[in-house]
């Protein structure tokens, strides 16, 4: 079994390492609460429900099958979790009560840890977003949009001109172009996040 080779998987995957056959359970354990991931019957309710399935290179169901098969790299390189919009349709419809949305978060965490993220658009956005939160305690939508479009020109070009909107943000919505005011308990928050990160790393 430790010599089993997954057909159709890039040579990079190579023979399945034994521990990989436990991959599914590893993932299941990482989610908070009982995710029931091991209960998947491959019915495809999730893939059928997903509003962004068309943008995913594997449907969630396929991802779960790949987890069972221990195809760690393929899963962690997949853009599937990054395309998740957290609509929770799959979660409430799943006949096996699998907490799919939470699993997607877990997979994002794992792929970042293992540095296997292919297209960093999504993760960079998350990072930028969080950079504000970690420094001010509050998020900053407009700066966010700005930075996102600068760091991802490719994306900006894909977009129709964002300028009028950004302008509108400032004028119509009366949003401030300056970062948010720091929260009073910033030091405390920083300490909390520091320890949390240490625990996460451990």
């Amino acid at each position: 079994m430790s010599e089993e080779v997954i057909v159709n998987s890039p040579p990079s995957a190579g023979p399945v390492k034994h521990e990989d056959l436990a991959l599914l359970n590893q993932v299941a354990k990482l989610a908070p609460g009982d995710s029931h991931l091991e209960m998947c019957i491959q019915c495809g309710t999730c893939g059928g429900s997903c509003p962004s399935a068309s943008a995913m290179d594997h449907t969630p169901r396929a991802i779960f099958a790949m987890l069972r098969a221990g195809m760690r790299d393929e899963v962690l390189k997949s853009n599937t979790p990054w395309m998740c919009v957290s609509c929770y349709y799959c979660t409430v419809r799943c006949p096996q009560d699998i907490h799919i949305t939470d699993i997607m978060y877990t997979l994002k965490n794992m792929s970042l840890k293992s540095k296997m993220v292919q297209d960093s658009t999504a993760s960079d956005f998350s990072r930028t977003f969080i950079r504000y939160v970690e420094n001010y305690g509050r998020s900053f939508e407009i700066g966010l949009a700005g930075i996102q479009n600068v760091t991802h020109l490719r994306l900006a070009t894909r977009l129709p001109n964002m300028a009028p909107m950004a302008l509108g943000m400032l004028t119509k919505k009366g949003m401030s172009p300056f970062p948010p005011k720091r929260i009073k308990g910033m030091d405390g928050l920083k300490k909390i996040l520091k320890r949390a990160k240490e625990m996460e790393a451990a």
């Binding site: 495809g44 309710t45 893939g47 059928g48 429900s49 594997h58 449907t59 169901r61 006949p95």
Partner: protein, 676 residues
Amino acid sequence: MSAEEKMPKERIGVYVCHCGSNIAGVVNVAEVSKWAGDNLKDQGVVVSRDYKFMCSSLGQELIQKDIKEQKLTRVVVAACSPHLHEKTFRNACKGADLNPYLCELVSVREQDSWVHTDKIAATEKAKAIVAGGVSRVVHHEPLTPLKVPIHPATLIVGGGIAGIQAALEIADAGFPVYLVEREPSIGGHMAQFDKTFPTLDCSACILTPKMVDVGNHPNITMLTYSEVQKVDGYVGNFAVTINKHARYVKTADCTGCGVCWEKCPKKVIDDKFEAGLGYRKAVYTPFPQAVPKYPVIDDINCTYFQKGTCKACEKFCPTNAIDFTQKNEIMTVEVGNIILATGWDLFDARRVPNYGYGRLANVFTNMEFERLSNSAGPTGGNIVLRDGKTTPKSVGIVHCVGSRDKNYNNYCSAICCMQSLKFAHLVHEKTGATVYNFYIDIRTPAKGYDEFYQRIIEEGALFVRGKVAEITDAARNPGEEGKLIIQVEDTLVGKQRRIPVDMVILSAGLEPRAGSKELAKTFGISCSADGWFIERHPKLDPVATMTEGVYIAGCVQGPKDIPASVAQGAAAAARILGKIQQKEIALEPVRATINEEQCSGCRICNTLCPYNAILFHEDTMVSEVNPALCQGCGTCVAGCPAGAISGTGFSNLQILSQIDGLLLLTLDKKKEAVVA
């Protein structure tokens, strides 16, 4: 501790069963029997053996031989649960002229070897259990079972195909049957179907003859439009109270001519027989071939009962059979046995919001489709959209609706796959429409079923493996305008698909009848967490229940198709006929008795008894138990402050000694501990 000082007065044989490796695999049976032989001498154990299969004829002969040669006066068998083989070993003793009630079967399988892995602990536990049995059996008394005559009549609840089959079997054998049906006619769900899988013969064609037979059978008393209210008594002698709803039609005079429902001005949506897809009148028979043929007036919808005027039916009835003054009639019947065949309810597809049933006009349920495709149905068998005229060009059939889903029912409804395949065929045959089947797994296990599946594939039905995620009318492109879009992951392709169709059929699953838990309570049987009734043994005794004299047949026991329901109906009938032939039945002689000397006449026990089996003699100021009514629960025994009541078969002495036995080892150990 309590009563074991003096010389053993009994000669006891102990027999430990290997049950192949079932017990021996975990419990060291040899050690147990040896231990019993050595350590329980003082209690009177004279032989102690272990044997591969105690329940085998050889094992039984072994016991009988010992009883004769060793002059055994008591027998303890350590094997499986008494619920499985108590009778077996009691009979073995009987065969050797030892009173069967002097034999005790203790369970070292269900409660030891099967549930434990630690061999040493399991062996210790087995010893304790045996010791318990030994010290208990010492205090057993020879008993004779109570014999009660069996009433030859049988009550069958539910006039569906299972009930009908059972009724005919018993009636044909020459015994009386009361067939109680809640609806105005017998026939059940099968009467609603169009065709039956896999043979596709017309449901009505094979059902109605049987219904007529029931209607004409001299031994069958049909009680339609009636419900069981109360069940008293016990196996052989049940007294069942039945509520016959007022029909408002004098069956003696009615000819079933049908003028009344032609003239009735009140149109009512028929939720039952037409599955909400058609109308009936306020006075009606569910369907033309109804048995009995007499209509009923449904007083909730009848204009006369609601507004006090109309009486059109009465005016036009040629035989003056209408009688608005009829009242519900409460009757009691005496029966010896009961069959419950109350069937199933359809899962309410409205509970699955993403399938849009109830919001989207052209999403139908399987029962609606049966009526739609039935030539006697509201559309005369034309498969059309809800507008009543458009024939669908494409139809999607969704499997597993409400089944195999933790959000609804976690079990497989067993019939949906075949039913859906049948639908695929009917749609294809009658409309030539493109048919999609959306399935998780196709399950076609019975005879001729998979061949049917092959045939449907051959006919060109399309199969998409994936549980449908949603059905919507929200079009995303012109191609989807005005259609129902079925959104699903085609799991074999690994891509999400949106398939526009004109009509969707939801194969909704089977559910236990609403109120099945109450029904179970009425008849004193248990039902599973789902609500299906629990059979005595899932494999070896599928139609009997834990309650003597109460049997189950058809979907009341779990989802099943027509052949299986018929088989169970017949099986239940056969079991009952066997009982009736015995003329009388032996009851466990587990009864309470009151010692007059000790009774202080406090009457506490009188109120404790749920069967009013304890009566108080004003003259002698003592209470007495009526053994015919006593069910042997023993609550009064435990409740009597004077300890004047003793429970046969479960006396204080027996149980206290069993406790001693069970703790024998422990005490020894504690002593050791103290010594050490």
